[in-house]
Amino acid sequence: MKSANEIGFGEVAVIQDVDVSHPSSRRILEIGFTPGQEIELINKSIFNDPLAFSVRGALIAIRQDEAGCIKVL
């Protein structure tokens, strides 16, 4: 299993779990990154951080570090 910050452009991944030990995990879940959802990496900002993912029809920007707590397959 890898983390959301490790997927490449155009790669569609399915969320398996969200690591609740990360302080931002609650907000990440609330905003729609829940297990079973497909996510796709859409954009990277300068210095590759933050990352913009498509999830549930929305574009959400989150930092590399925060994407690290989203486990995908």
């Binding site: 569609v12 399915v14 969200v18 609740v20 302080p23 931002s24 995990s25 609650r26 907000r27 990440i28 879940l29 609330e30 905003i31 729609g32 829940t34 297990p35 079973g36 959802q37 497909e38 859409i42 954009n43 990277k44 900002s45 300068i46 210095f47 590759n48 951080d49 933050p50 913009a52 498509s54 549930r56 029809g57 929305a58 574009l59 959400i60 920007a61 989150i62 930092r63 925060e66």
Partner: protein, 680 residues
Amino acid sequence: MTRRTSEAVPLIALVGPPNSGKTTLFNYLSGQNYKTVNYPGATVEYSISKLQSKFNLKADVIDSPGIVSLTPVSPDEKVSVDALYNHPKLGVPDVLIATVDSSQLSRHLFLIKQLIASGFRVVVAVTMVDLLNKKGYDISTSELSKQLGCEAVKIDGRTGKGIFELIRQVDKVLVQSRISGKPHLKPYNDISKENLLNIYKEIEKIEEAALVKLNSRSSGFDLTSANSQLTVLNTAITKRNGRNKPDEFTLKLDRILLNRHSGLLFFFLIMSALFTSIFWLAEPLMELVDESFAFLAEFTTDALGHSWYSDLLANGIITGTGSVLVFLPQIIILFLLLGLLEDTGYLSRGAMLIDKPLSKIGLNGKSFVPMLSGFACAIPAMMAARTISNKRERFLTIFIIPLMSCSARLPVYALLLAFLIPGEKSWIGGLALASIYILAIASSIAIAALMNKFNHKIVKEQDTSSFILELPAYRMPKPSVIIANTYQSAKLYLQKAGPVILTFSIVLWFITYFPDHNPQVETEGLSEDEIVLLLSGERLANSYAADLGKLIQPFMEPVGMDWRVGVALIAAFAAREVFVSSMALIFKVTGDEETLQQSMLSAMRSAEIGDTGQLLFTPTTITGLIIFFIFALQCLSTVAVARKETGGWRIPVLQLVMFTGLAYLMMFITVNGLRFWGIP
């Protein structure tokens, strides 16, 4: 703010996730006639309004910042959530109108489910159905309301379609609540992962039931629709259908605007276009305001002759007000452009683009919007910093906001640059102004980095830094909303600045005119104009302002100026733009020339320090003044807001001492440095 004296007028609260069309709906309900603390960049406090009379329902409506859930992570969300449970001034709302973007249904229903679970009476306003239709779907509101257990109405905030029906449903709920009383609310406590996931499971069922696929012929989504009909039971694949794809146009545009290389280029292009247009677009308008006030002042003196009351009217009130109103066009244009950027959806992209660089100096991508608003006014900017969840980053943002060159500094720079640069070379003026802005931004970065590195005393808290931000779909901006918000901001600005400016103009006029208001001078062989000039000079030399000035003189001498500039600098602590009106008063500008500014410039060019014959205003001293205004924190309202927003005096006092001290030091270095190199 109106205090609710009777329970007779029901209270409706608007609530919804960010970018769900809440503010558009509020503008429609209020008829854009609201009391507001609403600025471009963020709805930071709350706005209140009576429901427009055409809806035939007597009620108050409040709007507050958008929230993702009932568990706030940043101060702006906390304001909203607290207001829902028990508004500090207005009490518990009788009914909530919750906006839901139908093209973001599953994410936006999350808040609705929490609201209903907490016992709120909710009427759902379903927005942006046009975006959903573009994805090939429609929504059944009857199914949605059956599933949720509350009424749901489709609305269009642009055309007003469906809003009467929405109000009818609100009225129905209100009638019921009159029987059963205020809702019984319980705080939302269950924030365990299991509960969050359960809510989303329920939502996915609701979504499945409420979303209806449009006729494929009309939508042009033949392939996806056929696909998902075949595999309707396989959830993993159904999720690949059209409705869970972001807006196509947005994805294409972001490929350029959020690109790692061209994104940065466009960011700088958009920012430069924003700031240059503030000056180019405003120039003709500013001239118009300037000329009208010059005409008015001259007309007054001509009509009333030379007496103390005509002097008060022409020099105290008209010139004082005019010299400040002249930059209203620039403020309006700045607000318009900021509103435009926000409404298209670009601002969140800007925040994302510079999150990494800003985080290197202890700020956050979310500092971007507050910093940008700081170029209009530091007060709404500091309040907009509430969207930053990390306290340290928020305080540091607030700390450097006074260095953003706010619009109150524009008239000051305009006057000083006009002195430095001859009129026919206005492009140099634009360039010089651009350099002032760049210097201001550069020094704010340097100061933020320094504070971040060496001073951990400002904020001791070390909570985790976070950047989670929705990038809304690009939309055509709605001119009516932008214009309404700009109008509100400009009005609010005038209401706040106007009385201060007027009071200071009159006070300054008084202390420069009295006690020796009718000095005895040798008038033999002098023309009438010369007598007037001599009289006013004599009057000023013996005035209260001169007494005050003697205290300031020791500070002004090292920077090559005299007490008259010192008085104007002190007056500018009320508000920076007061500097210009004070200069107009102290140097007794009367409308001889075509515009006020020209009269002021000629008065400034002939001003001498005492009897030494040495010119007071030279390129050196004017440059020194510009440098002073770049750094100095000369706005008492800013100090007050910084205290309120940081909950203590430490940051505002540090800002005041540090920035104003730095300003004086830099002015000293500039003036003496330039003199050393032989510049006059």
